[in-house]
């Protein structure tokens, strides 16, 4: 086992990793930017090193300063958390070349899975279903029509260089496909100086279901079942739960097996997540692999009783997984609300500032992962996540009841938070019944039709 680990992150995940290290009896070095000077989690580390100014590019993303801090403080490994450098294969390789273990997957697997085309190739080989579509770029209008008829409407035209909904069109028939093909190309050309597009089946009101994986360096890969993360606003997850409501066990089991196959074929180890979209007919399609610990990992920790961060550290140290697939059981129901420093009443504008009152919920079945406290100043430089409120109960209705109670207990003053929108979500009948998809927030709360991209 490692003697000392450097935590290359901040906020609640830095605290989460520090706690895992403490539980394992491993020393901890925390790094911070000047914007996080004096932050509460830093007091729990054995040693702290200031690595740069507020902007992440000059601190939490600065390879050389992090590795220099790691070398000077004599650590054996670096835990990158999520975001920042967590999925950066180059950084992972540089750490290992400096004789410091990167607590994460092998950099080769990160590279393969981080590239969309490579990841799709791997998925095809591992017989993991992909969203049907063109194998590559579309050259002509005729080709677009041919493929659209093959995969069936509605179809989605996507710019290869696209992002943020630009260069995206939904086509429901030949006529709108031709029009959409032209306008998507023009838009992409104007926005990204690259007019190339591809085509795939457009999934209406899909659900987002992901499989948590754990693999060791000795070829063992297991899954820790699924999380449903359908409740999103502009691709930002708000609520996550496990198990996924109203998902047939047979489908769920197939997804778990597919995820394990993919991880094995990529030579993957450490913690990771395989993300899928599930359509209304419960067909599932691979989207991507997140090669890091995820924000919502505690949902799975609650239902399986497995400490994912602790396992990640043990795996990086070369230990064999002690948990076998048959040992993993889903017990009860867990749900998570992401509490962000954002103002839901003002288009979710970030709400940085000093917390003047912080009264967290508690009691049976409640877990709160947070770095915040009264007097803590939320810096404007980083992610707005201030807390993850989780509940664990035998059944979903009980979990909902406890979450509503916990949300009501949660008092935060000085900054605006997403607590009110969670209260609204947990009082909406469609959500309570478990009928959620990725368009839910826009559709139900903001009346934005089906919230199609590009519209």
């Amino acid at each position: 086992m490692f003697q000392r680990v450097l935590v290359a992150n901040r906020g609640e995940i830095a605290l989460r990793i520090i706690r895992a290290c403490r539980d394992l009896g491993v020393g901890v070095v925390a790094v911070y930017s000047t914007a996080d000077r004096g932050a509460p989690w830093l007091h729990l580390a054995d040693e702290t090193v200031c690595i740069g100014p507020g902007p992440a590019a000059e601190s939490y993303l600065k390879y050389t300063r992090i590795i220099a801090a790691a070398e000077k403080t004599n650590v054996d490994a670096i835990h990158p958390g999520y975001g920042f450098l967590s999925e950066n294969a180059e950084f992972a390789e540089m750490c290992r070349a400096s004789n410091i273990e990167f607590i994460g997957p092998p950099h080769d697997a990160m590279r393969k899975l981080g590239n969309k085309n490579e990841a799709k190739k791997l998925a095809r080989v591992a017989k993991v279903p992909l969203v049907p579509g063109s194998e590559g770029l579309i050259a002509t209008e005729e080709e677009a029509l041919k493929i659209a008829r093959q995969i069936g409407y509605p179809a989605l035209i996507k710019a290869a260089a696209g992002g943020g909904g630009r260069g995206m069109r939904v086509a429901r028939n030949d006529h709108s496909l031709v029009a959409g093909y032209q306008s998507a190309r023009q838009e992409a050309e104007a926005a990204f100086k690259d007019g190339s597009v591809f085509l795939e089946k457009y999934l209406e009101q899909p659900r987002h279901v992901e499989i948590q994986l754990l693999g060791d360096q000795h070829g063992n890969v297991i899954h820790l079942f699924e999380r449903d993360c359908s409740l999103q606003r502009r691709h930002q997850k708000l609520v996550e739960e496990s198990p996924a409501p109203n998902l047939p066990v047979k489908v769920r089991d197939e997804m778990c097996k597919a995820a394990v196959r993919l991880a094995k074929s990529a030579g993957y180890y450490s913690a990771g997540t395989c993300e899928f979209l599930v359509d209304k007919q419960n067909n599932f399609y691979f989207i991507e692999v997140n090669s890091r610990v995820q924000v919502e990992h505690p949902v799975t920790e609650l239902v399986t009783g497995i400490d994912i961060v602790r396992e990640q550290i043990k795996i990086a140290a070369g230990e064999k997984l002690k948990i076998r697939q048959s040992d993993v059981v889903q017990r009860g129901w867990a749900m998570e609300c992401r509490i962000n420093a954002e103002d839901p009443g003002n288009n979710f504008q970030p709400s940085a500032g000093t917390i003047t009152r912080w009264q967290p919920p508690g009691g049976p079945g409640v877990r709160l992962d947070t770095h915040a406290c009264t007097g803590y100043r939320v810096p404007p430089n980083y992610d707005s996540l201030v807390a993850k409120l989780l509940v664990h109960q035998p059944t979903r209705p009980e979990a909902i009841a406890v979450m509503k109670r916990a949300l009501a207990e949660f008092i935060v003053e000085g900054i605006k938070t997403t607590v009110p929108i969670h209260q609204k979500i947990f009082s909406t009948s469609a959500f309570v019944e478990g009928h959620v998809d990725t368009t839910f927030i826009e559709r139900v709360f903001y009346g934005q039709g089906s919230a199609e991209p590009g519209k």
Binding site: G27, H43, D46, T48, V49, C50, I67, A69, S98
Partner: protein
């Protein structure tokens, strides 16, 4: 050459370690980190407590401990005067001289201008020259040769008058 090396006790010499431990005890030091070429020794006393990194540099040991005590307890020179600070822009090891057998770049009393090199900071085996970026007279050297410095740490105080 080999004989020469034998005569100067290396950091892993048992007698040296014993001596270092005694020194640590008598001056109540909790941690010691020595580098000598590619050799390194790190000694720790007592329970782990939160420390801001304060590795004691090899030269400080050689010069005996009164220097250490002096350096840590010395009040800021010319108190009351408005002093400028030269801060570290890097994370790494502070070196006060271009090479071990050379003199320090600057000392208390040295005059510096914007482009004067005041020290080197080594990060990932790369030695970076640090310039004063202000002008005046060095009033205080805040870190010691070989010490680990973090971003924004004050390295020198400069009297601008």
């Amino acid at each position: 050459m080999a004989d020469e090396n034998k005569q100067t006790p290396g950091p892993f010499d048992v007698a040296t370690v014993r001596e270092l431990v005694e020194l640590m005890k008598s001056f109540d030091l909790s941690e010691l980190d020595l580098n000598d070429g590619d050799q390194r020794i790190r000694l720790r006393r007592g329970s782990r407590v939160m420390t801001t990194v304060q590795a004691i540099a090899p030269t400080a040991i050689a010069a005996a401990a009164p220097t250490v005590a002096q350096a840590t307890s010395a009040p800021p020179v010319a108190a009351g005067k408005k002093l400028l600070e030269i801060k570290s822009e890097l994370v790494g090891s502070f070196y006060s001289k271009p090479s071990p057998d050379k003199d320090d770049y600057v000392k208390v009393g040295s005059h510096v201008s914007t482009d004067t090199i005041v020290c080197k900071v080594e990060a990932m085996k790369i030695f970076n020259d640090i310039t004063a970026k202000c002008s005046g007279t060095i009033a205080e050297v805040c870190v010691q040769n070989g010490q680990f410095v973090e971003f924004d740490q004050v390295l020198f105080r400069v009297d601008p008058s």
